[in-house]
Symmetry: C2
Subunit: 467 residues, 2 copies
Amino acid sequence: MTPAPKHTARALPAAGIAELQGQFDTRCSVALAVREQHGRDESAFDVPPPQIVVFALSSAEVASTLALASRYDVPVIPFGGGTSLEGQLLAVDGGISLDVSRMDRIVQIAADDMLAVVQPGVTRKQLNDAVRTLGLFFSVDPGGEATLGGMAATRASGTNAVCYGTMRENVLALEVVTPQGEVIRTGTRASKSSAGYDLTHLYVGSEGTLGVITELTVRLRPLPEAVACAICSFPDIGAAIRTTIDIIQHGLPIARVELLDAQTVGMVNKHSHLGLREAPLLLMEFHGSPQSVREQTAIVEELASGHDGSAFEWETTPEGRTRLWTARHQAFFAALRSKPGCRAIATDACVPISHLADCMLASIEDASASGLPFALVGHVGDGNFHFAYLVDPLQPHEQAQAEALNTRLVERALSLGGTCSGEHGIGLHKRDFLLAEAGEGAVSVMRRIKQALDPGDILNPGKIFLP
Amino acid sequence: MTPAPKHTARALPAAGIAELQGQFDTRCSVALAVREQHGRDESAFDVPPPQIVVFALSSAEVASTLALASRYDVPVIPFGGGTSLEGQLLAVDGGISLDVSRMDRIVQIAADDMLAVVQPGVTRKQLNDAVRTLGLFFSVDPGGEATLGGMAATRASGTNAVCYGTMRENVLALEVVTPQGEVIRTGTRASKSSAGYDLTHLYVGSEGTLGVITELTVRLRPLPEAVACAICSFPDIGAAIRTTIDIIQHGLPIARVELLDAQTVGMVNKHSHLGLREAPLLLMEFHGSPQSVREQTAIVEELASGHDGSAFEWETTPEGRTRLWTARHQAFFAALRSKPGCRAIATDACVPISHLADCMLASIEDASASGLPFALVGHVGDGNFHFAYLVDPLQPHEQAQAEALNTRLVERALSLGGTCSGEHGIGLHKRDFLLAEAGEGAVSVMRRIKQALDPGDILNPGKIFLP
């Protein structure tokens, strides 16, 4: 873990606070509770909260806040759902938390073009509720009540990415407010374009360091006519992953394929009374016509049998699917409950799928040897996986142990051609890993872009780059 | 059309020429024929050729050329297959044409991970020949013998993009040499990542203005078990497009869907003796299992019938498919032959599919009124289409007429939420359209990135941005 930098707040003077209060009135707070709620995320860092929180309702308010921050040379930290995992929201340099969660309007749903225009505070659940009756859905599904603005800023993904892609593939265009307070658009509604630099993809994943996302044009997908879900147990993790490789090489358009290790299945059984076999488990979903789904499931059953997969269960009803997906969605909470009073230190790495078994097995061995309990889930179709190490917050050595495991896991992933983050981002936590992964040259290109677009280092300073 | 800027060559002095000759020996040329071959592309501009051409064999040679160019303050224009369409290769400011077409080695094929690592001079045909026996293919298929480096630089696509995406979705990582002569990597082999700014997508589509691509990691796809191809005629273009919308909204994973208008079908018939019905035509391809392909084709036949589609022809044999695709692939040549001595001024726009019929019909009407013959083909699943206006090069007013048609077409596309280029890029030809599309604010962000990464304006100056 990169240690959190020393808190060197760039303070907003009383005149600046008064300006914000004049402009935002009741949508502005210096109350400690509000600041603290905006000064922590799901990460383990302990950093003082931002100096002030404002709740913007429009791009114009975002622009004026950035202009004010530039004038006073204080940081602005864009805030959505507060669900980021690597310290992205923490006010390491003080400043203004710019909460855009109340910009939660679905501006337009263009069903013919299968896209939606939304404000950044719209959550994926909210969008899905709005488009379901049109026979459409939005595919990206990280855990938690994430907002689409935050998901874009972190380049988030989830269980559907193997088939439908991540935010990278599902954001078509953005409206962004620059640190200079200018409102720009980074694309059109056309599904592809060769017109100039790809600013959309530059802002997607920039973690609030280059601009504030104030509107998103996102792709929608047709709701599949039929959905089937299946679980299958394997004698070992290697067999489950080899089955996944076979499925993908076969060209099957599998919608989801998630792995739980035996220990995690045990935690889930205990938590949710599911009675699953406590062995490595693949949890899969298939989308298509009824006939195509039947065909896919038959092929997968055959491929899995070739790797000693057993204890198949198929579910095609919504209730049955919900029961099976409970295993996956409850994994994190089940793990937390398995060690009362613990907190989880979650990691996120992604490797080429051919190295996934090696990487996971070595990381399991390492974690097991440490004696720390852990849960393990993987979006294995993408080569992406998460460990949650369960540490007692009152035992600093456990946290240090978890961080050491995480470091070795990331080093292992990088040595196998992978990345230090599949979907959680860099934030404060992985700045040194980014440097190890990308190299001085590429990080220096990133820094030059940051410097060119945010010369005053107003936007979310201290994130992504080491000081 | 943006007029080509006045030729204001930044000349490489004799000492610089001697240095390059010392380093590149026979892989360096100042011969007029070689320079002229590197000083034109498929665009209609007339610009003096580059001062010297070098043929690099390695990233190190690319780096040393860039370092030399920086020292002498002369432009470097990366050159691959010479197939760009908007003036991207033209030496408007003099300098060195840096030909990387001899860097044509397939470095690695990682079948388990379904990716290939290639040098920039590898062509898509070369890559496909190498991976076919592994049951894989590379999906992006622009016309011509384009190199993968050039395709990435232009963010190219082609007929498969509706299903498999463009270069944007199919380049996983790049090796790039910066104008400072540093060799950087922009990604890993992991299929997704949230690690830092998305440099891969910044260089993809940057048209050689930010760095020189010296290696690409690209996605491969499993060869489909079954392929079926179909043509279907429609009473009008609107009906063909409504059928396409239905297909996509149905969630059918159609692999290709191309439109030819009646006049273009006529040209193709005359050229290739295909005997196709001279009405708007959809040419489609379906990939999947035999059963899934049968199901897809049955659904499409039904959807097309709902819009008065008729004269279906299905082909599942390779020979039959080749015959049908001939119609599409020959369209450009058939058009050229329909007006002896002509040259084609090709346009490229992309709109949301719901506006495609409006945009095409208005553009057809406009072109028909002009009296200039034209061909019209569309990657309609993406909302992308091309007109090729056939002009007599000895009649300047015809060229002016074609450019005026092109301008109105682009303005129409922009007013309908589209882009001025779906796949050909900006080059010299569309710099003013980019400004109209993206706006001053977004273009100024692009300019600041260019300035930050190439402060000496060494790389492909004069392209993308108006002076």
